[in-house]
Amino acid sequence: MSGFALERLVPAHVRAFEAYVPSPPDDVLRRRFGVAHLHRLNNNENPLGPPAASRAVMARWEVGQAAQYPQGDGWHLRRAIAGRFGLDAEQVILGNGANEVIAFVIKAFCEQGDNIVTADRTFAVYEWLASFSGVTPRLVPLRADGFDDAALLRAIDARTRVVFLCNPNNPTGSWWDHAKLARFLDAVAGRAIVVVDEAYAEYAEEPGFPDSFALMARHPNLVVYRTFSKMWGLAGLRIGWMAAAPAVAATVRKTSISYSVNLLALDAAREAVWDEAHIAATRAHVREMRAGLAALAGRLGLGMIGAIGNFAMLRLPIPDTVAHRRLMARGVMARAMTSFRYPGWLRVSFGSAPAMAAFAEALEAVLAEG
């Protein structure tokens, strides 16, 4: 095909970006690592699965519906969410997972040469989406494993369009309370959109955790992300959402993709809103598993951090990437944290009790190998 010069057609910021390569499917991993079973403690999934009502929707789902397009913008689900949080349905935008919603916001507010501000050790997708969109990610070091408000404010300049906060932070589980978030929004003073990614907010039991939807009334530059992948056990269906002040939401809607959330996800998520019994059961499970992991860390002499969320990090005496491989060879998947810029740390999701027991046994064996 003479005349086709691919390089000429690819923007420099795309050429420079390295594609993310997901892990192979579990069956391939099991074969490669020679194990019969893999406990998934690497993606912060909810071992309790979806709430009962969501399960019922899926169980009675008529497969013939797969031939139909979903309703284009999640009419019913947006109203259900809005009703739960005292919002107008037009303030809510759905996406095929929260990752898609992150992309909507960057596309809506950033152009080449602009920047976003976020932390260096947080959820990677803000940084990645900015980078391959030609937008500079300005990465601010964490302070004491938490977002550094003063440093974030110093990083904002005239080309900053969006500040991404992850609250609680993945992977550290650190969090800002309502007063701190309010002070930060005051200090930003509308110079940039402030996104607060609350993917793990439903795990927060602390009374001081922000009521971000209330702050939105006073700070129209605030955007809140939530997901059905964590607490609600619907990660496999890919559905997340954001809420913003009406004018901001109307702007983001221009860059959002209609029909991107599938029909089953819309129905299952709608039934999940807002199952308090499921939240209570999941939180109880997390409390029990956190206590067990803390006991293991104490017994092995490992540092542990993680206040809120269905995960915690352990400080290992060996490289985390080595521990990851050795755990895989024992049938346990945890997340090596070098790629989160936490070399030597391992993030562990609070899985089922048998999975956590398998992890404890495997980790002890791995560390005994030295």
């Binding site: 010069a5 691919l6 390089e7 390295e18 390569v21 892990s23 192979p24 391939v28 991993l29 074969r31 490669r32 690592f33 020679g34 260096d120 990677a124 940084e127 990645w128 070091p141 005496p317 060996i318 490289p319 990437t321 080595v322 990851h324 491989r325 050795r326 895989m328 060879a329 997340r335 090596a336 070098t338 790629s339 989160f340 810029r341 070399p343 030597g344």
Partner: protein, 415 residues
């Protein structure tokens, strides 16, 4: 510049390169070597090669002549130094000479397909006496950072004078040129007076790895040194994370390298008859992959895969499609007496070519031999048997899910 292949335009290409070299201030001696390489390669290029592109790049610490071919199916056998024998045709002799004139020869896929040959000539740097570091340095102030040129030069001077860090931390002018060419990255820790206390360098190693050198530590013995080394390493890991680099390799660790942050993936023999560990630090999770392993090496690789806990499908590689014409590239370090061989083009005669290369360089007095095979590329396996027959043994398996690197090594001028 684009020229037709064959002897007819070889002199034109040579004069073009010589002219560009002269116009850009390159020493006549280097310009003549580059021109001769261009002439020999063009003359030996078959008509089927299509238009050949010529480009001269100033990499500061080295000059690089690139010859691009529209097709990857160019017979490179003449570039293999082991093939030089009486009675070979003149085209092969020309390519042989071109390969001998370069300090380093590389092949890589062209941007739009095809093949790119790169011939590197190292620049010479005048010898000078490095300045010794002051006595009262430190303590560490702030996080390690990418140094400006003056700070980097000072670090290298002080490291050279105090014998710290290893051979990469020598000749400040060369290190600055390497960094300017994008072939070396550095992190340096400073004290409150912004004087360098220590540094860590890394350079490309294969497709997706970096070779780590150092640390060069200028602090006196004491508790601060270990913390400084760890701080430099953590900063380097943070700097490289979330990029294209999958891991760090340490072929010759400086004494202060924090060994607990690495795994030992093998051992390399040294000139003194001993051996030293090869260290590796993965930056990403290894999800497993395919390793194409020849039968002769299967037991060793299988054992290493098990020992390192790698998830690998170990496969028998198919035989090369070509019957003849296998070639290897050689990178020589005459001062160290070391030659490193890498496959250029696989064919059914790969084993003989590999053994011939080792024999040739042994005959030239080289005493340290290394060969790097990419187990993600099935065609590389064809060279293994010849390397083993010539006395090289598997020394290290450097993990990379997209293609583990198998390092073979031998020491000694005779078997």
């Amino acid at each position: 510049m684009l020229l037709p292949p064959g002897p007819g335009f070889a002199a034109v290409g040579a004069e073009f390169i010589r002219g560009v070299a002269a116009a850009t201030g390159i020493a006549p001696r280097l310009g003549d070597r580059l021109a001769l390489i261009a002439e020999e390669v063009l003359a030996a290029s078959p008509p089927s090669a299509g238009q050949v592109s010529l480009a001269l790049r100033d990499r500061r610490h080295a000059l690089r002549l690139e010859l691009g071919f529209a097709t990857a199916d160019v017979d490179l056998a003449g570039l293999d130094q082991a093939r030089r024998q009486d009675g070979e045709d003149t085209a092969d002799v020309g390519l042989y000479l071109a390969a001998r004139l370069a300090d380093r020869l590389t092949t890589e896929p062209g941007v739009q397909g095809g093949l790119l040959l790169g011939f590197d000539l190292a620049r010479a740097y005048p010898a000078r006496v490095a300045e010794a570091p002051p006595q009262a340095l430190g303590p560490v102030h702030g996080v390690p950072l990418e140094p400006d040129d003056a700070t980097l030069a000072l670090l290298v001077d002080w490291a050279e004078a105090s014998g710290a860090g290893g051979p990469v931390f020598r000749t400040a002018a060369r290190v600055l040129d390497q960094r300017a060419a994008g072939e070396l990255a550095a992190l340096v820790a400073l004290d409150a007076r912004r004087r360098p206390l220590g540094g860590l360098f890394w350079q490309p190693f294969g497709r997706r790895l970096m070779a780590l050198s150092g640390p060069a530590l200028l602090l006196p013995e004491g508790a601060g040194r270990a913390a400084l080394a760890t701080g430099l390493l953590d900063a380097a890991l943070g700097r490289l994370a979330r990029g294209s680099i999958q891991g760090l390799v340490v072929l010759e660790a400086a004494p202060d390298m924090p060994a607990e942050a690495f795994e030992v993936v093998g051992h390399l023999p040294d000139a003194a008859g001993g051996q030293h560990p090869v260290l590796f630090r993965a930056l990403e999770e290894d999800p497993g992959g395919i390793a194409w392993v020849p039968a002769a090496l299967r037991p060793w690789v299988t054992e290493q895969v098990r020992r390192l806990g790698l998830g690998r499908d170990i496969e028998e590689p198919p035989p090369p499609a070509r019957a003849t014409g296998a070639a290897m590239a050689a990178e020589t370090d005459r001062a160290a007496g070391r030659v490193t061989l890498r496959p250029l083009l696989a064919a059914a005669d790969a084993a003989a070519v590999a053994a011939g290369n080792v024999a040739l360089f042994r005959g030239q007095g080289f005493s340290q031999f290394r060969a790097v095979l990419d187990l993600g590329r099935p065609e590389h396996a064809a060279f293994a048997e010849g390397l083993v027959q010539a006395g090289l043994a598997p020394a290290a398996l450097i993990p990379d899910a997209a293609g583990d690197l198998l390092l073979l090594a031998a020491t000694g001028t005779s078997r």
